[in-house]
């Protein structure tokens, strides 16, 4: 029996309307579907204006969906019972400056309906965990950006939620702090918590996420494990060759005949060719072709792309398709970053 997803999004749509008689529309989400399984760390990627923050706000009930379905912890998104079990760290959050670390946790803990005594018994340990153990009595006004982020994380964890939704949790945090937050995320995962992460720092996501979803201009471009994404976007295998020019040309002609895609890399000490496939039979066939043509293979390497490279590659190639879809859409529907901003969408 499969487990109920922690987050389930089916054909989710959100359209912001603005202007006189609300005639201007901005489609922030255009039918997004994915699941987040309990206990996994799930990353949400996308360029600015992709609809990431809108998606998070729909999950929390801050923004009402225009269509589709969104369930969180088996409850409709925004349900108060669900919010009781969610910890949220918003991007650029503003904890009132008159609060101290301790009183901020008291305030937000009470908003989560926690008794004051319970908050007081937990807050010291929690502040220690996020590296603010000595700052509990200092006012938030004296906190650095990184400290504020860590305090935000602490308030999100305070009521021991099942699901943590963290929007740019490492924003403004120094490398040491980031490592600390990473450790915290793994600690949460170990305790069976689900973490829904939105971040621009792809290296960070790559280090912690089990699966990621990529949003672009309101459309879901990819969802799956990181490895799948990086492999799918891999540039192929590089062959360093030792041979005379005639044999090489003959071998390359055979590759063309076999419909194996390749491209040379210029300015190398020896002839170098990239075969644009990571698939094993193709690599085996390529090795056979080179050897049959008396071309010696002095080096063979397969490059694993980083998440960032894979993301950029995916976003770049998909943008052309998306633009084509946009052009086919009816008049009046616009989708630009500047218009999204004026429409009030924070996607």
């Amino acid at each position: 029996m499969s487990k109920t997803p922690a987050v389930s999004v089916i054909d989710l749509k959100k359209t912001y309307r603005s202007g006189l008689f609300r005639r201007r529309k901005v489609e922030a989400l255009q039918g997004v579907s994915f699941d987040v399984q309990p206990g996994e760390i799930f990353g949400l990627l996308g360029p600015n204006g992709a609809g990431k923050t809108t998606l998070i706000k729909v999950l929390l009930g801050l923004v009402k969906r225009s269509g589709g379905q969104a369930n969180v912890l088996d409850l409709p998104a925004g349900d108060r019972r669900g919010r009781m079990r969610i910890g949220y760290l918003p991007e650029n959050h503003r904890i009132p400056r008159h609060l101290t670390g301790n009183t901020a946790l008291e305030y937000y803990g009470q908003l989560s309906n926690m008794p004051l005594s319970e908050i007081r018994s937990k807050r010291g340990e929690l502040l220690d965990a996020v590296g603010l153990g000595k700052w509990g009595t200092a006012t938030v006004a004296s906190y650095s950006k990184g400290m504020l982020q860590r305090l935000g994380l602490a308030q999100a964890m305070l009521h021991d939620p099942e699901l943590l939704i963290l929007d740019e949790p490492t924003d403004g945090v120094d490398p040491v702090g980031r490592a600390g937050i990473r450790d915290t995320l793994f600690w949460l995962k170990d305790r069976g918590k689900t973490v829904f992460l939105n971040s621009h720092l792809l290296q960070e996501l790559e280090l912690v996420c089990d699966r990621v979803a990529i949003l672009q201009k309101g459309l879901l471009r990819h969802v799956g494990p990181i490895q799948e994404l990086t492999q799918a976007a891999s540039p192929g295998v590089t062959f360093g060759l030792t041979c005379d020019q005639a044999n090489l040309q003959a071998a390359l002609r055979v590759l063309d005949t076999a419909e194996i895609s390749w491209r040379p890399i210029e300015n190398q000490l020896r002839p170098t060719v990239i075969v644009e496939s990571s698939d094993q039979p193709t690599i085996d066939q390529t090795v056979d072709i080179f050897r049959n043509a008396n071309v010696s293979i002095s080096a063979i390497s397969s490059k694993q792309l980083t998440l960032e490279e894979a993301f950029l590659q995916l976003v770049d190639c998909d943008s052309h398709e998306i633009d084509a879809v946009r052009r086919a859409q009816p008049e009046g529907v616009v989708q630009t970053k500047s218009e999204e901003t004026t429409a009030g969408g924070n996607s």
């Binding site: 912001y16 706000k57 929390l60 009930g61 801050l62 923004v63 009402k64 108060r80 019972r81 919010r83 009781m84 969610i86 949220y88 918003p90 991007e91 650029n92 959050h93 503003r94 904890i95 009132p96 400056r97 008159h98 609060l99 009183t103 008291e106 305030y107 937000y108 009470q110 908003l111 989560s112 309906n113 926690m114 008794p115 006012t139 935000g152 308030q155 939704i165 009030g344 924070n346």
Partner: protein, 760 residues
Amino acid sequence: MRPYLAVIRDSFREAFATRVLWIMLILIVVLLGLLAPLSFERALAVSLQFSDFKNPQAFIKELRDNRNSSGNPAGYVWSRLSDDFKHEVKSVKPDTDRRRRMSVVGRARNEINRLFNEPDFYDKEVWSDTRLSSEANELLDRGLTSLSKEEARRFNRLAFEAAFPSHVEASGRNAIQFVYLRYPLGDELPIQETQLHQIGEQVLSFLVSRLVGNIGVFIALLVTASIVPQMLDSGAIDLLLSKPVSRPLLFLSKFFGGCTFILLNATFLIAGLWAIVGWRFGIWSEGLLWTIPVFVFVFAIYYSVSTLAAVIWRNAVVSIVVSILFWAICFAVGLAKSSLDNWFLDSRRTANIIPAGDTLIRLTQTGSGYEWDDENQEWRELFEQRRRGGPPTAGRQAAWLGAYYDATNDRLVGIRSGGGSRWFRRSSKLSIASQDNDWKPQESIETPGGVRELLPTRNGDILVAGTDGLYRLEGEATGPADAFKLFGMSLPGLGKTAEFVRIDDESFEWKRPFAAAIDSSTGRVLISSGDTIAILKDVDSEFVVESSSIRKSGQERVVGFAGDRFLTASQDGFVRIFDASSSELVDTQRPFGNNEPRSVITSPDGRWAAVLFHHRKVWLFDGKTSAPIAASLNGQGDISAVAFQADSSFLAADRFGRIIRYSPEESFAIKATMEPQPDFLETLYTRFIDPVHTIFPKPGEMENVVTWLMTKQQTIGPDDTDELSASRQVIDIQEPLWSNLAFLAIMLTVTSVLITRRDF
């Protein structure tokens, strides 16, 4: 509730942290610290006040007339006045303007007060024919040289009063001297400590409603304007709404957090004021403490507008601007209504209904007269009263006092009120309008000072009663008008063929509060004077006391005969029914709570009586059964005048000129309605302005609630509160309270809905 209490608690934490609260508390402490040294000391009444003059012009004339005879007090006082002042008095001519004449009166007061400081003011020979009061004699017996400085001044004052009894009121012994850090502030005031309480409450009412109610609310709005916009800031609101809280309750918690913050400040200020006033003046006013919730309520009304603007625009400055605009709109709506009321429409309301033989006359508040034209179904104007500036109703006496129809001489008799304030009242004159002269009023002689009632008699005699006694007009009322004038003002009794002659035996003590009525069938006169109720009867053309009793309440303000009963009504709303022969109390009613009565009207046959109250409701009484009548009158709450016709039909005037005739014999069934077609202004008022005003919030009118809480006054009227017959503005607490509550509820609901539906 835990999350919402946390939000309210956070409002306080924020207030303390941002120092705003501290600054406000420090300012309040400074204000209270400045007020704390203000106090009073008991003193002897010495200084002459404007209100002590009965007739200042006549007094000055007497001094001037006796300038050459230093053997009497008038000549003696004249001789001791400064040359400058004497010169100024001599320079005043009949055509001198009023302001100059009043300035002379003011100087006269200062000159006399200066004389009181002179140790040799009293001259035994000059005062040889003057009868000094017992208090003065007591001081004299002790020896003038042995008196303290204050006692000597007091003696001079008593001697002065004794010398000019017809011009100057006798003063009470005690007075109050206000001091600040032991330094006296101005002259001592001839008031008792009980009056000090009353005045103190009025001053506090003014301070609280104006300073705290207006300036305080504005400051409170400035201080709290940022609370909701800050809550709605991106990064703050998403953090709050991600918690398991209800959006409307979150908003309401923030709203009440702001209100609680203001409650704290208001409590500190007003409770501080209460403690200081109690400590320094002995005025422990419970009403002052009740103004705290009123103030917070007024703030909440404006704040609800501010928060709605904050939810729409998320900007503190815009919230403040919108709140100010809202205040301006409320002010404009209130002003439109009160302007139409006071300047145009109330002046059309009926102040007196006078059934005059076979015709019906109505007099308006401003003194215009109209006769009902049955054929054209309209009021025909008989005469118009020129308006003397200022709104004609609120706080002013009616232009006519006690007008009635004299059937014997087929004429309308009334007193044209001189108007003016208590201290500068212009003289009132008898006015006669006969049918032969198409009811055009002819001015007759001035009435004696202090006249309050005109008493209609069967034989056509004109009787007036007031705090100076009971008078009958002797001679022809409408003789040649060649009155002697000083400073352009007529002097009573001079140059007329008629005069008012005192007809009571002078044994009765005439004082305020005063009311009188006559039983036209027996000619007996009912007097309520101070705390005494007496019946006077005519014995050989002199009215003597037949019976008298002392009322403990001492507040009977309007009276009337009804058959073998007489009725009195007191300021606190009680109507008491007495047996006319024994003056024993038979029954007590309080038909409309503590609403103040305005007049008691009785039918010519003495059977029916109607008590008209200031909130324009009428209570009816059947003298035959000695029981109240449960009649359903049209326009209850808007009835401005009532009367009985010769056949005892009952007339009640409402709206702007409607009079309905009822038959008391037939359970007050309607017999006729006299109502002209409303004009544009009346239609505009009744169809638009009044309904809009009714449903519109009235935060400004909450000042009236403060006045009511502080003074327990039901109405606001002339400064002379003894005169209940004058038109008074009723303090309506209910309507502003309910309309403001409804508005507050609507605003909070709309804001809650908006915040629920909004994407953040």
